[in-house]
Amino acid sequence: MIFETTTAIALAMLIPLAAMAGNMAFKDMPNLRDGFTFLCAVLTFCAVLVVLANEGNSITSEVSLIEVFPGIDIAFNVEPLGLMFAIIASGLWIITHIYGVGYMRGNDEKHHARFFACFAIAISSVMGIAFSSNMFTLFLFYEILTVSTYPLVAHKGTPDAVKGARTYLAILIGTSIALQLTAVIWTYALAGTLDFTQGGILVGKVAGWVVPVLLGLYAFGIGKAALMPFHKWLPAAMVAPTPVSALLHAVAVVKAGVFTMLKVGIYIFGIDFLAETGASEWLMWLAAYSIIAASVVAMTQDNLKKRLAYSTVSQLSYITLGMALATSMGALGGGMHIAMHAMGKITLFMCAGAIYVAYHKTEISQMQGLGRVMPITFGAFLIGSLSIIGLPPLGGSWPKFLLMLGAADTGHLIIIGVLMVSSLLNVAYLLPIVGRGFFRPLDDGAPTKRYEGPVLVWLPPALTALGCFVLFFYGGALQSFLLPIIGQ
């Protein structure tokens, strides 16, 4: 035990803030600034690992910082799902930071200091989300995350960027304030508490029509989970520089959304309570619809990042689906998918960024034959794609398997069908990109010499692609790590 868990949690949130301060202070010294941020990223990851070492997969009691309303504190605790989320986010921050430095420099973007400072705040608030022990604290950091990522989306300052950022903000703030906040306060008024509790806090406090309505307020209010029809912000946010899309819109922000969704399902309503009342049935169907519809839309996108964004929308709904199935297996599958999808999708985004840095291509139709000149990038892309599709021996296969088990448990055979069809659709919109890259001839006048872009840009996706393999072999371990969330 190097630190107390409490200290480690505090550090996990404070170190990114130090990184922010560092970026402000060393505004005009790029190497010092970026080096310092890297150091902070590593330290943050270490702090999270300390928590892991200290607590393992136990659920600890909460540590309260300050009481805001009577009975509502800003408070933190450790719990497997959150800890997993924290590990992924902080770990991937290191890689994304390296990548980000390469991308921003290679691409001559402006306002580096502001960019990395906002990035750090976002990470800090993700840590807050991961460790919050009640819905209020979670909501607080959820909103900070929205606000701090807004400047990142609007980073370029072009009319397009401003418009995209406006959509981003309007939907995220709009849903969270109008629906989620209402739901949170309503929950408080009904249950008298907002603490995440095994088995839920609403059990016995509420019945009838209120349950599905409240669940609906949450489901749509958690706009970051990009459940249709509130998914538009995600494609809109693709105007952001790619490191933002990679970490925030494949890992931190969207995962904060589905993470919240799982937390609500597991600890606010309680899986059993949902199963008992059948309140989540409609949500399950909506998630299923979202999975298929977003995949179909993804196929029509020519812009690579947009296609990936729609793919994300679809994949996020797997997690929502897991919660809505209202079985242990579903919840577990949803939880695992947070990790697996993160690893796969960040790889894809970083590859997209690498292509942009090296050849300034954004549209899939322009990427003919590029695989021949950047084989590592396209190789990583292939691995990422396969993981998303869910083929063994890649990490992405586990959650799909568990979700299918869950669907079988509850006898929803159609859902199993949906999962199958979705996998096929994944194949249909992801693999052609790789195919085009490797097997089509290069466009006329395109460079024929092998060039992958700066090392800082191609190495990170290669690493995460490797991670997809590794996760497959640790799938079982991860599953047992997450068991406490379903009370086992």
């Binding site: 009481e67 309303f69 909103e143 406006r166 703030i173 209402t182 306060i185």
Partner: protein, 509 residues
């Protein structure tokens, strides 16, 4: 008594605090005129504000947990004499007013220099102190007629202060005139209301009024008195649809005046409404309950939506904020209409939180006006990059105005929504959050102008002077601080709400 020597316990300074609270700023005004020097004027005013702030904090701490302090002016026991009564409800409002005065004065120093002709500066500060005195006097007093007298002190000086904007835009004069007419009608309505109460009870002391109304029950005269008091004060509070004076007055008044007024004067009026409703009339008063539901709630909701909607379409930052104020007053009235502990706490805490938030935002506009000479959006393009230290607090204020979690504005909206749910008024709860979305739109518009548009070619803009930045940052930090560490405003506000709901002054332990 005459001719007999009665032993008299000398009053300690602590016991004298309630009167000193008003007296310190009060005496400053004539002193400023007597001395007649501009720098001394500012220094005196600031010193008085600081002293008064300390006193109000001390008073609040004395009544924080309930109970009240009574001070008999002239040594005459009420109801014969005038009484000051401090409990959690008015101590909180006094703390707000004195805190705002304390931060406004440093801000005013440069702003007034810029916006008002130099020969008027001395008198301006005297007038400012009178306005401040009047507000404090209204809030602290336990005598119904004394409310009117101090109300007029603050109103008259307010009219003059608003008119001082005429140096920049002559519409300040008509704004002041309209305000004068509306304000005087309001004050006269209030006097009529007091007259009706006096006619039915024979007393003017608030506590005594409450006792006598409770004893003899209500009648039509008392009902009508209630209506006139609420309408009269509603005019002052810019309660929809009596708000017509407000946008012009706030838009054209000098920046420092707008800062102070927006944060304090409407809050004072709402406090008076609360005081009369709850402490003088009994909360159980069925008559009032109907009024809550039939009048206050719809008007509050209309105000929240219509004023926010109008705010969205303004091209002038300052005017936008003025409309937003009307909407925010709607929230406070809604809290009254919700009529339970959470709702009333929401009203009290929103008075406080919105006070600091709005003061901050108007200060921000004032600072921008000082540097650019305009508060129109299209003259403020890209200033966030040119003067980051000045614009950043504006963003904080904007977030608090929306009610983003972690800011002061969130705490009050939370309490209101919670109150609505406790009543089972979930439609109202949803309307509250929906109207916050309109706030997102109008606030974000300002933020986009300041940050995401390109500044004019080669434009260079200095940061606002320190005397403005420091108050702005203090308020910005307060906006965040009170959004997280809520025990001061929320604790006091919930005590205040309990006091009010118990229908008395202080609490019977």
């Amino acid at each position: 008594m005459a001719g007999t020597v009665t032993p008299h316990d000398a009053k300690t300074l602590i016991e004298q605090l309630p009167i000193l609270q008003v007296l310190v700023p009060f005496c400053t005004a004539p002193l400023i005129v007597l001395i007649g020097s501009r720098r001394m004027a500012w220094a005196l005013a600031f010193a008085a504000a600081v002293i008064s702030l300390v006193i109000s904090y001390a008073l609040l701490m004395q009544v924080y947990g309930g109970g009240f302090i009574s001070y008999q002016l002239g040594g005459w026991a009420p109801p014969l004499g005038i009484e000051y009564r401090v409990d959690a409800a008015n101590a909180l409002v006094m703390l707000l007013i004195s805190a705002i005065a304390t931060v406004t004065l440093p801000f005013a120093y440069e702003s007034v220099k810029d916006e008002i002709t130099s020969k008027n500066h001395t008198l301006f500060y005297a007038c400012f102190m009178l306005c401040y005195t009047g507000l404090m006097g209204v809030v602290i007093t336990g005598d119904a007629f004394n409310v009117f007298v101090f109300l007029e002190i603050s109103s008259l000086s307010t009219y003059v202060l608003v008119a001082q904007g005429a140096g920049r835009d002559k519409r300040a004069l008509t704004a002041a005139y309209d305000y004068l007419i509306m304000g005087t009608i309001g004050a006269t309505f209030f006097v009529i209301g007091i007259g009706f109460l006096f006619m039915s009870t024979g007393t003017l002391n608030m506590a005594d009024l409450a006792d006598r109304i409770a004893e003899q029950g209500t009648n039509r005269t008392i009902h009508a008195g209630f209506a006139f008091i609420v309408v009269g004060m509603g005019l002052k509070a810019a309660m929809y649809p009596l708000h017509l004076w407000l946008p012009k007055a706030y838009t054209f008044a000098p920046s420092a005046v707008t800062v102070f007024l927006s944060a304090t004067s409407t809050k004072m009026a709402i406090y008076v409404i609360l005081r009369f409703m709850f402490s003088i009339y009994n909360p159980d008063f069925i008559f009032a309950l109907n009024v809550m539901f039939l009048v206050f709630m719809p008007l509050a909701l209309i105000a929240m939506f219509s004023a926010s909607f109008v705010a969205v379409f303004q091209v002038n930052f300052k005017r936008m904020l003025a409309y937003s104020s009307i909407a925010q007053i709607g929230y406070m009235l809604l809290g009254i209409a919700i009529f339970n502990l959470s709702g009333l706490t929401g009203t009290m805490v929103h008075m406080f939180n919105h006070g600091i938030t709005k003061a901050l935002l108007f200060m921000g506009v004032g600072a921008l006006v000082l540097r650019t000479g305009s508060s129109f959006y299209n003259n403020l393009n890209g200033l966030g990059r040119l003067m980051p230290l000045t614009v950043a607090p504006i963003v904080v204020g904007g977030l608090s105005l929306i009610g983003v979690p972690g800011t002061a504005g969130f705490v009050s909206k939370w309490m209101l929504v919670q109150g609505a749910f406790e009543n089972g008024w979930w439609v109202v709860a949803i309307l509250i959050v929906l109207s916050s979305l309109l706030a997102v739109v109008y606030v974000w518009r300002a933020i986009e102008v300041l940050y995401l548009t390109e500044p004019a070619e080669g434009a260079k803009m200095a940061e606002a002077p320190m005397s403005m930045l420091i108050p702005m940052w203090i308020l910005a930090i307060a906006c965040i601080w009170f959004g997280v560490a809520t025990d001061l405003p929320l604790g006091a506000a919930s005590t205040a709400a309990e006091v009010l709901l118990s229908g008395s002054f202080g609490m019977v332990e």
